[in-house]
């Protein structure tokens, strides 16, 4: 019987199943962080339970850790308590923690692949919706809530209803593969299938344009699968995947054997029917910029802010949503995207903070200066990314251009540490969510790729980055 890649992973992880009931699924890797784990550990203590597989559980601090000098104490008391709580919990339950001063500290979805913890064919969970990032390696990786974190800590399993399969066929060749990034591809997809287009489904990205991407670019695609409402996003592993994971700190010793097995099994069989299918061609894709308050409210950099009627296509709820979004964003329909002036630029987050993102952004910035009206910052995704960037001298390029060069963490993606927008400030951000208040109360977020963010920082407004390279 022919199967999708997802079905193969699912079937190999069923512990028990009954008709019309969710299946109990084995979890291979559990990543935890300071924000969604404290109540789960409390639950374990109350019921006197242990962590079943501390060896398969890995912790780091990322969400509220400051991105300033790590040798200084954390001034925000609640953040400091949450970080200390994770340290205590990891110590008490024997869990490996990449803490505040670890060379492996970083955004949980960035360090998983970097350390070789993320492996093809595995099931990976974390109390964070962007766990879908790791689907780029052919893993079934998804976000869970804190009750489920507790369930996985206690049992290493999870009850799940089997999601349906959704094929996203990405065809064609990008005209300018430096200026048109995987961020533009995924924003184009969400723009078309909508923020709930993937609900109840696992997306499998396929087609030549996907396999043309590097592993880091593929992670950006899978990262934003959740913004289309899907349970997870997947890409079948190939030689690029196997090369990326080779010789990482936690890469298994029998790696070559595993690669043989993955090569043979981890793909969707030919002629397999998906429950749903969508095709996009990347030949004509332009740099994308979000103008609204959810990640489907996106247009080409060459376009103007849409009129609500045009965006809503006659659907009253959609028209109202667009009106509310434009009021919040303080934007007028018909305004060219390139005339939008910016106050802040944020290059970072689990979507776009890896070394290739920083190399590309630095290429744009080199020898130029940030516009005097803009405050711009770069927050590497992990200490390893930061170290690598500094080795390449990229930090100097950013610093010379008047960017702030920060320590690693989630930072201004979700406004849990001091890196936030002031009310009314407008930001070009390489993150994943442009929700109201996400980057700070009253802050206005435009989602873009790293090269678009970098060029906007220099110009002080959005520019078509294709004209710069």
């Amino acid at each position: 019987m022919s199967e999708t890649l997802f079905e193969k992973i699912w079937n190999s992880h069923i512990v028990t199943e009954k008709e019309n009931e969710p299946s109990l699924i084995y979890i291979d890797r559990h990543l935890i962080h300071e924000v969604t784990s404290p109540q789960a550990f409390n639950g374990l203590r109350i019921y006197k339970r242990n962590v079943r597989r501390p060896d398969l559980t890995i912790a780091t601090v990322d969400h509220n850790i400051p991105t300033t000098d790590r040798s200084l104490p954390i001034l925000d008391e609640t953040s400091s308590i949450q970080i200390q709580t994770l340290e205590t919990n990891c110590k008490d339950f024997g869990i490996k923690l990449f803490g505040k001063n670890s060379k492996n500290q970083g955004i949980v979805h960035v360090i998983g692949p970097q350390l070789g913890i993320t492996l093809p064919g595995t099931t990976i969970v974390c109390g964070d919706s962007h766990t879908s990032t790791q689907g780029a390696f052919g893993a079934f990786a998804f976000g869970i809530g804190t009750s489920e974190v507790e369930h996985v800590l206690a049992t290493q399993t999870l009850w799940l209803e089997k999601p349906k399969s959704f094929e996203i066929m990405v065809n064609g060749k990008r005209k300018n593969s430096f200026a048109i990034t995987s961020k533009d591809i995924i924003l184009s997809i969400i723009r078309q299938i909508g923020t709930d287009g993937g609900v109840g489904h696992v997306l499998e990205y396929r087609g030549e344009a996907i396999f043309d991407l590097s592993m880091e670019q593929r992670m950006t695609i899978c990262n934003m699968s959740i913004e289309a409402g899907s349970r997870a996003g997947l890409i079948a592993p190939d030689e690029k995947t196997f090369d990326y994971l080779k010789n990482r700190e936690f890469t298994p010793k029998n790696y070559d054997e595993l690669v043989d097995d993955w090569n043979e099994n981890l793909h969707t069989d030919s002629n397999t029917q998906f429950d749903k299918s969508f095709t996009i061609n990347v030949d004509q894709i332009a740099p994308q910029v979000s103008w609204g308050t959810n990640p489907s409210m996106v247009c080409d950099v060459t376009q103007t802010i849409p009129f609500p009627e045009e965006f809503g296509n006659g659907v009253s709820n959609q028209i109202k949503s667009a009106e509310k979004a434009l009021a919040y964003m303080d934007l007028k329909p018909g305004t060219p995207i390139t005339e939008i002036q910016l106050d802040r630029v944020f290059i970072g987050s689990c979507t776009n903070s890896r070394i290739e993102d920083l190399i590309d952004a630095a290429e744009i910035v080199k020898g130029k200066k940030v516009s005097p009206n803009v405050r711009a910052m770069v927050v590497p995704g992990s200490q390893m990314v930061k170290y690598e960037a500094e080795k390449l001298g990229i930090d100097k390029i950013f610093i010379d251009a008047n960017f702030e060069w920060r320590e690693s963490g989630c930072s201004m993606c979700l406004g849990m540490n001091p890196d936030i927008l002031k009310p009314g400030e407008r930001c070009a951000s390489t993150s994943n969510r442009n929700f109201e208040g996400r980057q700070g109360v009253g802050g206005r977020t435009h989602l873009v790729s790293p090269v678009m963010a970098a060029s906007a920082a220099i110009a002080g407004h959005f520019v078509d980055v294709r004209e710069w390279c």
Binding site: I81, I144, M416, F435, G437
Partner: protein
């Protein structure tokens, strides 16, 4: 189950507006609940009453996996959210901890219910009665397993 409606005429109410990021550091549920819906409705906490229902459009609870979202609403007294559709992590989180009932209604029902209406929800009959105008609506029945988890009072109690 009877309660008054707080209606939001919008789709895609995300978890960042249900409970903004900076408050995820608060572990005390009562303190947390003071900031529920603050992202789009700063007066929510002062006007919500024990037993109230939220009514909203499509894709309620999209975004982050924070369980703080159903916890904050439930601690304020919200017993059910009636929406045209739900983001799945929010749905699972609501049910897992038996914090509140995520009830799916159709578009017509969503449009017929007004802010401040008083509703009675009958889970056995999968029926919603609008006590303000005597209209009767149907709701999407919970699947058997979800029904069992809710009746048991959450995932852990159900599996025990």
């Amino acid at each position: 189950m009877k309660g008054n409606v707080i209606k939001y005429e919008r789709d895609n109410i995300d978890t960042d507006v249900i409970i903004p990021g900076p408050y995820l550091k608060i572990h005390d549920y009562i303190e947390l609940s003071k900031h529920a819906m603050e992202g789009i409705d700063p007066d929510f906490h002062s006007r919500v009453n024990e037993g109230d229902f939220i009514v909203a459009g499509k894709n309620f609870g999209c975004g982050s996996s924070r369980e703080h979202a159903p916890i904050a609403l439930s601690t304020c007294g919200i017993k059910a959210v009636l929406a045209v559709s739900f983001a799945r992590i929010f749905y699972r989180n609501s049910v897992d901890g038996a914090f509140l009932l995520p009830i799916e209604i159709d578009e017509k029902t969503y449009k017929s219910i007004s802010n401040d209406d008083k509703l009675e929800i009958n889970l056995e009959r999968n029926e919603i009665v609008n006590l303000s105008n005597n209209a009767i609506y149907s709701m999407k029945p919970f699947s058997e397993i979800i029904g069992k988890i809710i009746s048991a009072g959450g995932l852990f109690k159900y599996k025990k």
